[in-house]
Assembly symmetry: C2
Homo-oligomer: 510 residues x 2
């Protein structure tokens, strides 16, 4: 009986401590690759679209029901800048990681252009240490979380920096565990029977997915293998009663667009284009992973103390023949897709669930941007005044989580992509900048020095250029964009013919 | 002057000899894999179909203009039986090579069925020597041509027999040269940059295409590499002034359906399903190869003395998700596709050009079948009474080449497929037999013992089963089919439940 009493007292004492200093919540960032704003059965627009009806994402629907939907969440037009902004809190124009990093070190991935010279951007990506050439040095989010008691797990696609630099390995960026992440930006194959590899010329593919040997030769789709491993990894902090940060970066739904056999039949039967059917199966396989994770949290009674943030890293790919159907229609009603500073390239499906803090079924129309994740997640974790080497551009959206009605139309968001992405031309796919303030958006084409103005409230598809009708708005936004880019010491490409730099937006105000 | 006179006399003498004993013509068999009856801009039906408008095959158009079009040419429902019938002159029911042979020896490729036991067919394929288990022993066509002065070249897909048996190597079948042929039935990859291979689990794919090392690592599509090598190989008999037999078995357009980059753009721009666009590019790449070969014959002034026979080995694949679009619509107006004894599985695009013998632009509606190639080609080559170990079922169509109006409605063609092809069920894809006489066709479903009767003249799509309306015709054809199958000692599967064999068609006449 004495022992019982003592144990009882200890339990009371512990409970007391917890009451005063609550355990910080677990945090899951569920980041999908190349998923567009409409690639889901959750409607992010004011109406349910044909694309919403096409895709089947019941677990995203669950997350939307139980959490908060952000209808104006933004990322960068391509993947590395989004990922490094998320981990650093710094805008891509500012970090100079404006484009996707090659798996190989010291390789500028800009496709050669006949008009402009590439800028000397940080094409080796993010670095947790100073002095690495062509990298941006920052104190990464996982490092800070790890220092503050979190067990930090990286799963899936990393793509933060090139091989041979510290940033290529998630374990150098503050992750205590790394599952299948490296310098690669997409998998060579989604198939376990391929060993997640597709060798060419007798050599392993540079995009072979590392570290999933247990699934080699088995009929386990990559999305599934990652999910099983992530759940296994989370068991460790659960046992240790330590809060965890799970960064789950799916390789899906990036190319190669391969069928996830578990889900493809219904899309084929629906008569979908065959590549689009495969794509839809990739989306549903990713959603199944989300569901497995949510179910796991339920089973382990962790749901109430876990924040789940769902996000994608850029707009849906909309070039053919990689996608099926007509090019640049894959993010409708949004214009264009991955690579573009039009909405199709940057607007993302975003959901946040946090029981007890975020009211279920809410919607926030406030625009936010991916560098906001850094200060927000630190806020959620209760990390005050973190010691970081970089200047933070992001703004915490924790207030929005608590009150989705908050509406700030004065803030300006900036995109800057002084790079050429692919051989093909397309709607603002290369060499462009953009700024949004309130409902207004200015887009700047570097090669033609053209400024386009759109009102996103009345024209989400960016079809009506209002630059001529609203010269004052053009001027105001061009000045604001220029000021911000100059403040960040952003890079502008130079013309091949003259050697002169592309003009700042303010210099070309009509 | 004296020398000149002597040379003149020699020339005269040689010419004289030729006049008495003409050089036999060169013979090209251009055999495409899995190409359907409608996968071409050449209309083989009475009207131009949507599929004819989709595909671009200008060189087949040329061949049709300059030669004879067979609108009722038949092969077997799957590839090996067609190929071994062509090389042996024996019907598949008779040779007992009724299904596709595995690259691996002693492997029955029948997919397991819940109702029927597989038959003990010759699943190691064709053999040029006696005593090899599960093979059909025959004297192959190339052996006979080689013995009769032909230089015999094999290019591309062989698939005559399993590895470890003599029939797997075209050089054992009378071919003096073999380019890229082996026991495999399709390429692991069409890409030179893949080395025509797609290793899995760290091992080379069993379907890696052999012998094209010169193109490894190069951006040369398989159809192109084969064409270049075939043309190079033909130089040898040209130099030797020896007639040649070129058997050019394209791997195209079999799966994996990969884009031939040279041709895909227009199909994508036309808004075609993405897999179907790739398929169309495979078709056009194959047609380009035909054009290159025809141009080469022109350049070397060989056109007039070369017979070119164009054929496919079975109907177009019509199952999804391997094909795009709705399943079983890929050979319309014909019913079903590869694997089936309905017309979509067996009717083939066939063209024959032979300047001076075949009148340009002709059409023959006479039905012929692939075992006819054997006696026909021997006739063309002037080989009389060849010594062969096998009984010949085929009938020479040389008279048809000379007079396409010949019309024989008494002959009966037989298909026999006592095998299960794939996991999926589909229109007569498994366990079926068929017979055609005149315009009538009887189809026999082994599992249900159902007899279906169609009139192909009025109903090419086999939509109206006339069995009830024409019991006498059913009876006559069922008796004829049974007689022929029994004559050939054809195999019938047995029921798992009872151990009893499937009834002969004559036993189930209603």
């Amino acid at each position: 009986m004495k022992t019982g009493l003592i144990i009882g007292l200890i339990v009371l004492a512990i409970s007391g401590t917890f009451a005063q200093k609550p355990t910080p919540p677990n945090i899951v960032v569920f980041l999908v690759d190349d998923m567009g704003w409409q690639d889901t059965s959750v409607p992010f627009w004011k109406q349910v679209t044909e694309l919403n009806r096409r895709y089947r994402t019941p677990n995203m629907e669950r997350l939307a029901r139980e959490g908060l939907k952000f209808t104006n969440a933004y990322a960068m037009p391509v993947c590395t800048p989004t990922r490094t902004s998320l981990l650093s809190g710094v805008n891509a124009a500012h970090s100079r990681i404006t484009h996707w990093t090659s798996p190989n070190k010291d390789k500028n991935t800009d496709y050669p252009d006949t008009t402009l010279n590439p800028v000397d951007w940080n094409y080796n990506g993010l670095s947790p240490v100073a002095g690495i050439e062509h990298t941006f040095h920052a104190t990464p989010l996982p490092t800070l979380l790890s220092q503050n008691g979190y067990y930090t797990i990286h799963t899936g696609k990393a793509h933060f920096g090139s091989a041979g630099t510290p940033g290529s390995d998630p374990k150098n960026l503050g992750f205590q565990v790394n599952i299948a992440g490296s310098e690669i930006g997409h998998p060579a194959s989604y198939l376990g029977t391929d060993n997640y590899d597709r060798p060419g010329n007798g050599k392993p593919n540079r995009n072979a997915v590392p570290g999933l040997e247990a699934y080699h030769g088995k009929d386990v789709f990559l999305s599934e293998a990652l999910t099983r491993e992530a759940i296994k990894a989370v068991e460790v902090p659960i046992q240790k009663k330590q809060p965890f940060f799970l960064y789950f970066g799916h390789y899906a739904v990036h190319t190669p667009i391969m069928a996830d056999k578990r889900f493809i039949d219904k899309y084929l039967k629906a008569g979908l284009d065959s590549t689009e059917a495969k794509y839809a199966s990739l989306v549903e396989g990713m959603d199944k992973s989300l569901g497995d994770l949510l179910n796991f949290l339920d089973e382990r009674k962790l749901t109430d103390n876990t924040v789940v943030i769902f996000m994608s890293d850029n707009g849906g790919l909309s070039t053919t023949p990689l996608r099926g159907g007509q090019e640049h229609t894959h993010n409708l009603p949004l214009r264009a897709g991955k690579g573009s500073v039009y909405e199709g390239g940057i607007r993302e499906p975003m959901l946040v669930r946090w029981p007890g803090v975020v009211k279920p079924g809410g919607v926030s129309e406030q625009y936010i941007i991916v560098e906001d994740f850094f200060p927000t997640i630190l806020d959620i974790a209760g990390v005050k005044k973190p010691k970081v080497v970089q200047p933070i551009d992001g703004k915490s959206f924790l207030p929005l989580l608590k009150n989705p009605a908050v509406n700030d139309t004065t803030r300006a968001l900036v995109w800057h992509h002084p790079n050429r992405w692919i051989p093909a031309e397309g709607p603002m796919l290369h060499w462009a900048s953009g700024i949004r303030q309130g409902d207004w958006k200015l887009v700047y084409d570097h090669r033609t020095a053209a400024l386009e103005l759109y009102n996103l409230k009345s024209d989400i598809g960016e079809q009506q250029n209002l630059a001529t009708a609203h010269p004052d708005k053009v001027k105001q936004l061009a000045l604001l964009l220029t000021k911000q880019l100059k403040t960040w010491n952003a890079q502008m490409p130079t013309f091949k013919k003259t050697g002169k730099a592309v003009a700042w937006p303010e210099e070309v105000i009509p």
